[in-house]
Structure formats: C-alpha cells, structure tokens
C-alpha cells in the first residue's frame, strides 16, 4: 500500500514539476521562446527527471535492502550465546522469531532473550512499511528543489536533459556487465565455501560422485558427508553431448548446405521457417518427448535386440538433444555459408568446377571458421542444457561411456541438489555451486573460443 502510494506520489510530483517549470520558463523568457536557450519543455523534462530519478533510485534501494537490513538488525538484538550457534540452528530460530513477530500460529515458547528480537522484528517491519515514504520522497523533493532553482533563460536545459538521458543509457548498458559480475561472484563465492570443506583435488580427480553418503575411509558418516568427484558427471555430460553432436552436426550441416546452396529460392522460403519452428520449441517439450516417447522406444528396441538396457538411457537424452540442436547448427551454418561472397563461387565455376565441387572445395573451406564456430556454440549449448537431461537422463553417477546405460550430467546434479531441502552450510548444497562454476567456465571458454576462432581465421574478402 505504502509502496503504491509512494510511486504514485513520485510521478505526481514529477509531472507537476514538468508542467510548472515549463510555464515558469516561458514566463521568464517574457512569453517568447526566443529569449530562452532551450525550449520550455526541456526545462520541464529536466525537472521531471531530476525529481523522478532520485526518488526511484532510493525506492529501489529501499526495496532491495529492506528485508536483509531488518533481518540483520533483528539478529543483532539476540543475546550473544544465541547468536553463536550453527547457522542451521540460527535460521531455524529466526523462522520461529518470524512466526512470533507475525503473531499467527506459533510452535512453543521462544528461548530466553529471543522474545525481544521478535518484538523488535514486528516493530521494524511495521516501521519499514511506512518508512519508505520519507525515504523516497525526500531525495525526490531535494532533486525537485535543486532543478527548479536552475531554471533561467540562459540555462542549457536541453543539454542537461540529454546528459541525464545519456547517463541512464550507460547504466542500462552496464547492467549486462553487472549480470556477468553477479554470476561470477555468486557462483565463485559459494564454490569457495565448498572448496573449504572438500579439497579441490578431490573434486577434480576423485572418481566417485555421491553427495550425502560417506564413502571414503575415515570420513564421518552424516548428512553432510559424501564424495564429490566431478569425473563421472563430466563423463556423463560428455557422453550425452557426443551423442547429441553426432546426431546434430551431420543433419544440421547438410540441411544448411542444402538450404543455402542447393535449394530453389521458393523451396528455401518454405523449408527454412519450418526448421525455425523446431528452434522455437521450449526444451522442456523436448525433454517430455525424450522421456515419454523416445526413451520407451529405445528401451524396447534395445531389450528386444538383447542388449542390457538401463532404466533411463543416455542415448535417448542425447539423440533428442541432437534434434534440438539441428536448427541451431543449421541456422548458424546457413549464415556462415551465405556470407561467402559470390565472386568465389563464380571463380570456381569459371574454372570449370561443377556445382558440387564449388561447394565442397571452395564455399565450405571459405565458410569453415563460421562452421567451426557454430559447432562450438552447439557443444556449449549441449553441455549447458538442463531440461532434456533432467527428464530423460538418470540421477545416479555412473563412470561409463555406454550409451545404453544410465548416466547423469552436471546440470542434472545442479538442479537435483538445489531443488528440495537446502541448507546453505552443507557441502551437498554448496557443491552445486562448484559444479555451476565448472559449467560456467567451460561454456564461457567454448563461447569465447568460438568467437575468437571466427575472428582469427575468417578471411576478409572485401
């Protein structure tokens, strides 16, 4: 309620500022625009932005940090002996304090000293609800007053407004960098916590992945103990990605060659959008297709041929992932092939090469950097794909390269570890972030590698 009121008030003040200032600027110029440096509306925009922006920024800051700050202050109300428990017990205590503060159904009495924290929390939450009004409106009023005081005929309001707008654009463009920064920080931070519990050498070189059970000798059995060797996960990921690429690369490349070089324009115009339909299908749909249609088919086929088939076969997940990647590879390769200039083709024809020879000996070598880039990007997508493997591949880590066996992948484990019960101080939960770090680094290397490879080897024909 307070939030909507504040937002509404901010906009009202800003709009009033716009209207008022525009009129005042015109009046100061003795009624004609000629005496002003900038048009009156730019004076108005200037006040509008100078009022709204500080208000919205502070509103955003308030909303983002309200909960963490209130919680932190509440925890500080607790006596020291309560505060120094393990983080699991502490978060349990905190949720009980929250229940008491909310005044609803409570389970038992709070421990000594915690009642004060609950009262404080209730008070702080009430205060925080309404504190937003001065917190956002005061900076807005300050901005309004400052901008108003600048209005004179000589004030370069247009330049000032444009500068503000330019600044806003830069902030928006920087958001992408901030996102990357946020990804790296969040994954790295939790991964480091994980590596403090489990040595990094074990993570990289152990052949066993079994979070939650004690495997090694001398390891205390408990919920947090387990063996965290990434090797079987990586092997499984590699197996499924290999199957996917074996399906997608020939089909995707040949389709692209056909569409770009051999098909008549009319045929191309029909076929290309149909291929794009495949690309627009969400991965969860492919996952269901793999789990409910392709898997049973492969299992029946394999069993009838006398193979030893697992309950969830890597082959099904891999093939369907390949299906998903066909349009991806095909459209990137298509771009690479059509980017080859016609003079190369004409040169080949004039030397007496057939159409087929022109394609295989001239066009494809010229497009090779682009094609390699497409394949590398497809590998990156295959490794990072989650929903297909989550639905069609298994959970058990298996050190095998048999496509008819059950395997698991890095992404499946991340999703599995982070859905359900979580405790952010257990190695089991944190290991998901270590896996995420590996996944991020590998896909980053592939993406950047694809880009660099293209830049380095692509001939410039102009």
């Amino acid at each position: 309620m307070a939030l909507q009121l504040t937002t509404l008030a901010l906009f009202l003040i800003a709009i009033t500022g716009f209207v008022m200032t525009r009129r005042r600027a015109l009046a100061q110029g003795d009624g004609t625009r000629r005496n002003l440096h900038s048009q009156p509306k730019y004076h108005g925009y200037f006040v509008f932005l100078a009022t709204l922006l500080p208000g919205l920024v502070f509103l955003g800051i308030f909303l983002l940090f309200k909960t963490p700050v209130v919680n932190w202050l509440t925890m500080n109300q607790l006596p020291a002996e309560l505060r120094n428990q393990g983080s699991g017990a502490l978060s349990l205590l905190f949720s009980r304090i929250e229940q008491h503060a909310a005044g609803g159904q409570t389970f038992g009495e709070l421990p000594e000293g915690a009642q004060g924290a609950a009262d404080f929390l209730a008070m702080a939450r009430r205060a925080a609800t309404w504190a937003i009004i001065p917190f956002a409106l005061f900076p807005a009023a300050l901005g309004f007053w400052f901008a108003q005081s600048r209005v004179q005929p000589t004030f370069r309001a247009r330049n000032a407004t444009e500068k503000i707008v330019r600044g806003l654009m830069i902030v928006c463009a920087t958001l992408a960098v901030l996102t990357t920064f946020g990804i790296v920080m969040s994954v790295l931070f939790e991964a480091i916590r994980f590596f403090r519990m489990e040595p990094i050498s074990e993570f990289l070189f152990s052949l066993e992945w079994n979070p939650g059970t004690a495997i090694r000798e001398g390891q205390a059995a408990g919920a947090d103990q387990g063996s965290f060797g990434i090797a079987p996960l990586f092997l499984g990921t590699l197996l499924i990605a290999t199957i996917a690429m074996a399906t997608a690369v020939p089909l995707g490349l040949l389709s692209a060659i056909y569409l770009a070089e051999l098909a008549k324009p009319r045929v191309r115009k029909i076929l290309k959008p149909m291929l794009e339909v495949l690309a627009g299908i969400p991965t969860v749909v492919y996952g269901v297709f793999a789990a409910l249609t392709v898997s049973p088919f492969i299992i029946n086929l394999g069993t009838s041929m006398g193979f030893d088939v697992g309950a969830k076969v890597a082959l099904a997940a891999g093939i369907v992932m390949g299906f998903m990647l066909i349009p991806f590879i095909s459209s990137l390769s298509d771009d690479a092939i059509t980017a080859v200039p016609d003079k190369l083709r004409n040169g080949a024809y004039s030397m007496g090469a057939t159409h087929g020879e022109t394609i295989t000996r001239v066009v494809l070598p010229a497009a090779l950097p682009g094609l390699v880039g497409a394949v590398l990007l497809a590998v990156s997508r295959a490794i990072g794909e989650t929903m297909i493997v989550l639905l069609a591949a298994g959970l058990r880590a298996n050190l095998t390269f048999n496509p008819l066996d059950t395997t698991t992948t890095v992404t499946v484990q991340i999703a599995n570890l982070l859905t359900g019960d979580q405790r952010f101080d257990s190695a089991k939960t944190l290991s998901a972030f270590a896996l995420g770090l590996v996944l991020f680094l590998v896909t980053l290397a592939l993406n950047v590698g694809a880009l660099k490879f293209q830049q380095r080897y692509q001939e410039k024909y102009d």
């Binding site: 994954v187 389709s255 299908i281 969400p282």
Partner: protein, 436 residues
C-alpha cells in the same frame, strides 16, 4: 584454355570429347548429386523429426482435453445432510454421490457383498466438494433430486479412454473385478461420456489428474512475462541505443559488447544459480515468487533483446540520421525522433521472440523454488507461484497415469501461446517492413 586441353592429347584422355573425360565428368556430377540428395535427406529427416514430435504430442495429448463424466441421479437426502446448509461435512456428500451410483448400478442401499470405498473410488474425489458447494450456494436443493453429470476417477477415465489394459489378471489391474463389472455396466447403460474439460484452463494443479488444470501456471507465467516485458524492453532498448548510436569505440565498450554476446549463450541454469544466490539469499526475495522468477527471466532476456534491438538500429539507413542532424537536431533528437521510431518494429519483433523464449524457460525457475506443488494462482508478485513449463515438468514426473495425457495437453497449450506470440512478431515485421 579449352583449346590447350583439347590440343594436349595426353593418354589420360584430357580431350573434352574423349570417353574418359566424359565418364570422369559423370563421376564428378554424381558426387554433386550425392551432396544434393544427402542435403535433401537431411532436411527431410529434420522435418520428419518435427512431424514425429508434433504427432506424438497431439496423439498422446488430445484426450487430455477430454474428461469422462457419469450421469447420476443425485438425491440431496435430508437425512444424510441434515438441516444447516452451511455446516455439512464433505463426507455426507460422498455418501450422497455413492447413493447415486448405487441407484445407477441397481445395487441395494445397504452394502452387503462389496466394500463401499470401492464404489467411492469410481468417481472423482472432487465430486463431494462440488456438491457441497452447490448446496452452500443453493440451500433449497436439500431434499430434491437432480440429474447430474459428475466426473469419474482418473482410473475410470483411463479405462473409458481405452488407455488401461483391462484383459490382465486382477492383481495387475487398477480396477478390481467388481469395479470392472460396474464400469462395464455403466458403459453399457450409456451413462459414461466424454466432455470437453474446461477445467484444464480454469482449475489449478491437483493431486488428482481428473481435477488438475493449468490456471495457476498460466497466471504465473503471464505475470512473469509481464515483469520481463516491463523491465527488459526499456532497459534493452536504452542499452542498444547507447551502444549503437552514442558509445565511443574503446575497450570498455568492447568489453560490454563481448559481455552481452556471451551472456546470451550462458546456460539458463546458471541464471538460476544467480537468482538463488543473489535474489533469494542476499536480497531476500520470496521463494518461488513471480518477482524472483521475473527478475531472473529479465536478466536472461536482456541480452537477447539487446542483440535484436541493435540489429534493428543498424538496419536504419544513415541518411535518416544525417537528414535530422542537417536540419539542426541534436544527436539525441535525431535518434529519438527519427532512428528510434524507424527501428521500433524490429525491436518489438525481437522483444516478442525474447518473451517467447522466457515463456518456455524452466530450469532457472526450478532453482528458485518453483518445483513445489502450488494449487492456487498467485495473489501478488510475492506469492508462491508456478508456471506453465514448470507444470509440464511436474506432470511429466507424476506417477499417476492420468498425468501423461495432461502433460501433453499442457504442452499443446504452451505451444499455442508460443505460436500466437511468434505469429504476432511475424505479422508485425511484415506489416512494418513494407512501409519502411
């Protein structure tokens, strides 16, 4: 050159009219034909895959839009219900429904040689709540008798749709011999029929397949898409305009560009990790809320829209800018008044395609807590919510047989929404391309 080849009478037959040359040419042409036909075969396989995918969805899913109902004569028996319409336990209505079934099957009111719960299991567990609600809305019903069409249980539904193998031994069948007999009797009497199941769109998730629907998922998905559209579009357009029109060419700009291109290729589950660590754990967004989901999807969609918006801006001819600048516009004015309006349709197309991608995204939503059972649409952006793709994932993993066809039906609904969005994008593109 032809002359030179023709004159050289080498033993290999270099002459154009020699048999050796002709056969070699035929081989070369054959190689080309092989390439052509393998390309054609490849694209046919790709289209066959698309066809198989769609066929498997439709063939397994069309019955998910249907639900089997049974015609019963329901007597709102006063003795069972009692007088007060507001305060009747739902168990009483189960008895009423059972009496209706007994009447339909010609069984005596007092069960002697069968277990009443076997009879209860024939109709949906939701029937008693429907009846309870009906009496609450209209207390005059008490004491009357009405012809009603009520949903049967999921097992009966499967049996009626022919998806249950009824020829096996009793131990391996989901219906007991007794229940099978009742089922056949109801079917022979013509009391069972399929009806279109509107609940698929108006009900929310349920543990019983015959009551489950997508309403909560649809609301959740579109709230999140709304958040994405409200934030990602303006931010992306501003970023694209800056990078394309104003940014100086320096290391910083290059870094931003590489960053955006890379972000577009980062696996979606990594964004889920980001959302979990930053939005949930650090900033305290509520778990599995549309707010948290929308925030993650905004970050995921941003690079896609930025890339599309930049290519739309690049396709505006430089003469537009030059013309505006020549007339005395500032650079900001030139961009805002001429370049941006011209590029807007292209930007909107890219945005809709980005939104369609966000609509189908599942993995990051699972990580921010949207794998929980949610039986009501969210009441605000802080409420627990679910989304259509998440619902598909949950139903695909559900053990009940009835959810298999529901999964495929939900996929059809999702694909329908995507089709509408993509068609809008294409129409938008075609309409404005002609004008430009």
């Amino acid at each position: 050159m032809t002359d030179a080849t023709a004159q050289g009478s080498a033993p290999g037959g270099r002459r154009i009219d020699s048999d050796a040359f002709r056969s070699r040419l035929a081989t070369r042409r054959r190689k080309g034909a092989i390439l052509k036909y393998s390309g054609l075969i490849a694209i046919c396989i790709a289209l066959a895959i698309l066809g198989t995918l769609l066929f498997s969805i439709v063939s397994q899913g069309w019955q998910g839009f249907l639900r089997t109902n049974v015609e019963l004569e329901i007597t709102y028996n006063e003795e069972i219900i009692g007088g007060d319409a507001e305060d009747i336990p739902s168990g009483a209505f189960q008895e009423i429904a059972r009496n209706g079934l007994q009447k339909a099957l010609g069984l005596p009111p007092e069960a002697e040689d069968y277990d009443p719960s076997d009879l209860n299991a024939l109709i949906s567990s939701g029937v008693r709540y429907d009846l309870q609600q009906a009496v609450r809305d209209e207390p005059e019903l008490i004491g009357r008798t009405a012809q009603l069409s009520v949903p049967v249980s999921s097992t009966m539904d499967m049996a009626y749709k022919g998806k249950l193998n009824l020829d096996v031994d009793e131990g391996r069948r989901q219906l007991s011999n007794q229940q099978l007999e009742w089922f056949n009797q109801l079917q022979d009497d013509g009391r069972l029929h399929s009806e279109f199941y509107w609940g698929l769109f108006s009900n929310s998730d349920s543990r019983s397949p015959e009551l489950a629907g997508l309403w909560a998922g649809i609301v959740g998905s579109f709230v999140m898409i709304g958040i994405v559209a409200a934030f990602a579009f303006p931010i992306a357009v501003a970023a694209a305009v800056y990078l394309e029109e104003f940014a100086p060419k320096n290391r910083w700009t290059e870094l931003v560009e590489v960053n955006i291109n890379n972000l577009a290729a980062v696996p979606s589950i990594i964004f889920g990790l980001l959302g979990l660590a930053v939005f949930l754990n650090t900033l305290g967004f509520p778990r599995s809320s549309p707010l948290a989901g929308g925030a993650v999807l905004v970050l995921m969609t941003l690079p896609i829209i930025i890339i599309a918006a930049r290519s739309a801006l690049r396709s505006v001819p430089p003469s537009y800018r030059d013309g505006a600048l020549m007339l005395g516009a500032s650079r900001n004015q030139a961009v805002m008044k001429t370049v941006l309006p011209t590029a807007l349709p292209g930007m909107l197309t890219g945005t809709i395609i980005g939104l369609a991608q966000a609509l189908g995204e599942t993995a990051p939503l699972l990580l921010i807590g949207m794998q929980a059972f949610v039986a009501a649409p969210p009441e605000g952006i802080n409420d627990t919510a679910t989304a259509i793709p998440v619902q598909i994932y949950l139903w695909a993993n559900a053990p009940e047989r009835g959810f298999a066809e529901k999964t495929q039906a939900a996929i059809m609904v999702l694909l329908m929404f995507l089709l509408i969005m993509n068609a809008t994008a294409i129409i938008l593109r075609n309409r404005f391309q002609k004008r430009a």
